[in-house]
């Protein structure tokens, strides 16, 4: 073919085949099997499933069975799903409040300093999440540096219990996802033409007015992308609530893990996973409608600036 000749040496679409097949086998297939498992029955010994159709797992989401065999409405899991939403929402709000100033600040540094500063933001992301989460066990401990500091200043009589509280979970989540908020906002802010801000000053605008009326609307796509990149993974977080929440503040992921671990109810864990996937998908669609492409582009370019 003539077109093919003009593209000599650029390779063919078939080069992507092994990679795509691999992803179908190890990303798509696991998702399919979870959906299938969620409609099967619990195995006698608890590991794996029994191949017998059942909607029990989904019924378990809302109802619990009493010993007498009757079913009654049980809000336990609804509560956990609601908690997960709440945690993800708080995390998004706090990371936004912290990320906006630093993203704009970095974007207004001289160009040659910016890449270094952004690299500094991303370094912690590349280190083990387990270790960073563990670090907060040390930091928030009753004998930890924060309580020691407050004690030394005489601000508190006895240590403030912080570890194993919802507060600790939120701190861990905010810490985990902060870079995901900073990067897209920075990507937007960097493209912002600060001559617009200058023009606004010339027209008599004060700092706050310029920030609110000129800068913020311009970084909106970055903010939306950031909310997406924080909210979705925060919703499915496992480590922060597991290690810092002390079991008191379970999120969906912890319940899923328990079903595949000690609780040994794989179909129920699978059903919860399906639910989490559906919620994730709905949130994605909502954001897509909200952002009308612009945020998606920023989101991708912020990934690329990071890698």
């Amino acid at each position: 073919m003539g077109r093919a000749r003009a593209r000599a040496g650029q390779g063919s679409a078939w080069a992507a085949a092994p990679g795509l097949l691999y992803l179908i086998g190890l990303v798509l297939a696991p998702l399919v099997i979870i959906v299938v498992y969620s409609f099967l029955s619990r195995a006698k010994l608890g590991v794996g499933v029994k191949w017998e159709f059942s909607a029990q797992a989904y019924a378990d989401l809302l109802f619990s069975e009493s010993l007498a065999g009757g079913r009654s409405f049980d809000p336990t899991y609804l509560q956990i799903i609601f908690n997960s939403f709440l945690f993800a929402l708080i995390t998004s709000a706090v990371t936004l409040a912290l990320a906006l100033p630093i993203a704009v600040w970095i974007a207004t540094r001289p160009p040659k300093d910016r890449t270094g500063l952004i690299f500094l933001v991303t370094i912690p992301f590349w280190t083990s999440l387990l270790i960073r989460t563990y670090a907060f066990i040390i930091i928030l401990n009753d004998n930890g540096p924060i309580n020691a500091f407050l004690g030394a200043l005489g601000l508190v009589e006895s240590p403030i219990p912080m570890l194993y509280t919802p507060f600790a979970t939120v701190v861990g989540l905010v810490y985990t996802f902060l870079p995901f908020m900073i990067l897209p906002i920075y990507a937007s802010a960097e493209r912002f033409d600060f001559r617009l801000a200058e023009a606004a000053y010339d027209l008599g605008g004060g700092k706050w007015t310029v920030l609110r009326r000129i800068v913020l609307p311009s970084v909106r796509p970055g903010v939306i992308a950031g909310m997406l990149l924080v909210f979705i993974p925060a919703l499915g977080s496992y480590l922060a609530p597991e290690l810092l929440g002390g079991g008191k503040t379970s999120m969906i992921a912890n319940v899923i893990a328990a079903q595949f671990g000690a609780s040994r109810n794989w179909p129920f864990g699978a059903a919860l996973s399906v639910l989490l996937l559906i919620i994730t998908l709905l949130v994605l669609v909502a954001f897509a409608v909200l952002s009308k492409r612009s945020a998606r582009v920023t989101g991708r370019s912020s990934w690329e600036s990071m890698l």
Partner: protein
């Protein structure tokens, strides 16, 4: 810098408190790393009560047989997963530029999926798949799963590099009589090398640091370093956890720095 920004611009760009908040955020970002490293030198068994400087925890950690075994497992997984994901990503990068639009969005959904799907779902999904197929858990199972989520990390630097290649070099090579394979080996690959190195390094640390997927697929013999550390945290927190963590942090920071510099150079 030789050139000052024009006139009034610079101070007008500053917003009150933004610099201060940025400093606080940077401190927050590095605080966990500082405390993990700092307390790894604590002579006291109780991590957070400082008693004096010691390197004993490092000796203890490095001489522990279980830790050595976990380290070997981690390295085996990371090396193989990196190699596999880089090869697959190389094919994806080249193929996707040639693929029709409709196929492309499906492909990107597949590639991006491991980044968007909650990791716990990916972990138990892979676990279910392997159990269903009667595949033994352990190092090999972990490697297969890691490869899948290492692909996007390997792919992006390679793709960025590939997009910057001037298409006329292929034409020139073809005009000189090189066949497709020869062009790939002698032209494409050398041009992509910095992207391949950066992608490989990122894939390596993503695999090395993974906890959740490894935890569910480890089985009895597949304990990796993060899985081992999780066990330590669950049992008793001593500065030993910090010493081991510090070593792992050091490797990550070192590798990501190398990756950063290789992908910056010659761009």
């Amino acid at each position: 810098m030789s050139r000052r920004p024009r006139g009034t611009g610079e101070s007008l760009k500053d917003f009150p408190l933004f610099g201060a908040i940025s400093a606080v955020v940077f401190a927050f970002l590095y605080m966990p790393l500082v405390f993990v490293v700092g307390y790894s030198f604590n002579a006291n068994r109780v991590v957070t009560v400082w008693k004096g400087f010691t390197l004993d925890w490092y000796l203890e950690v490095l001489q522990n047989d279980d830790i050595q075994r976990a380290l070997m497992n981690s390295l085996r997984v990371a090396v193989v997963a990196t190699a596999l994901s880089v090869v697959l990503a190389l094919g994806l990068a080249i193929g996707l530029l040639r693929l029709a639009r409709s196929g492309n969005s499906f492909a990107w959904a597949l590639i991006g999926a491991p980044l968007i799907i909650p990791e716990i779902v990916f972990a138990i999904g892979t676990l279910s798949l392997f159990v269903q197929m009667r595949m033994p858990l352990g190092v090999n199972a972990i490697t297969l799963a890691h490869t899948a989520f290492c692909i996007p990390f390997a792919l992006l630097p390679i793709r960025a590099r590939l997009k910057s290649v001037d298409l006329s070099v292929y034409e020139a090579a073809a005009d000189l009589g090189a066949n497709e394979w020869r062009i790939f080996r002698r032209v494409t690959l050398p041009l992509l090398a910095p992207g391949v190195v950066a992608g490989a390094l990122l894939a390596f640390i993503i695999s090395l640091d993974d906890f959740i997927v490894s935890y569910f697929l480890a089985g009895p013999g597949g304990t990796t370093l993060p899985v081992y550390i999780f066990g330590m945290i669950r049992n008793a927190i001593t500065p030993g956890v910090n010493a081991l963590s510090t070593l792992l942090l050091l490797v990550s920071v070192l590798i990501v720095s190398i990756s950063y510099y290789t992908s910056r150079r010659k761009r």
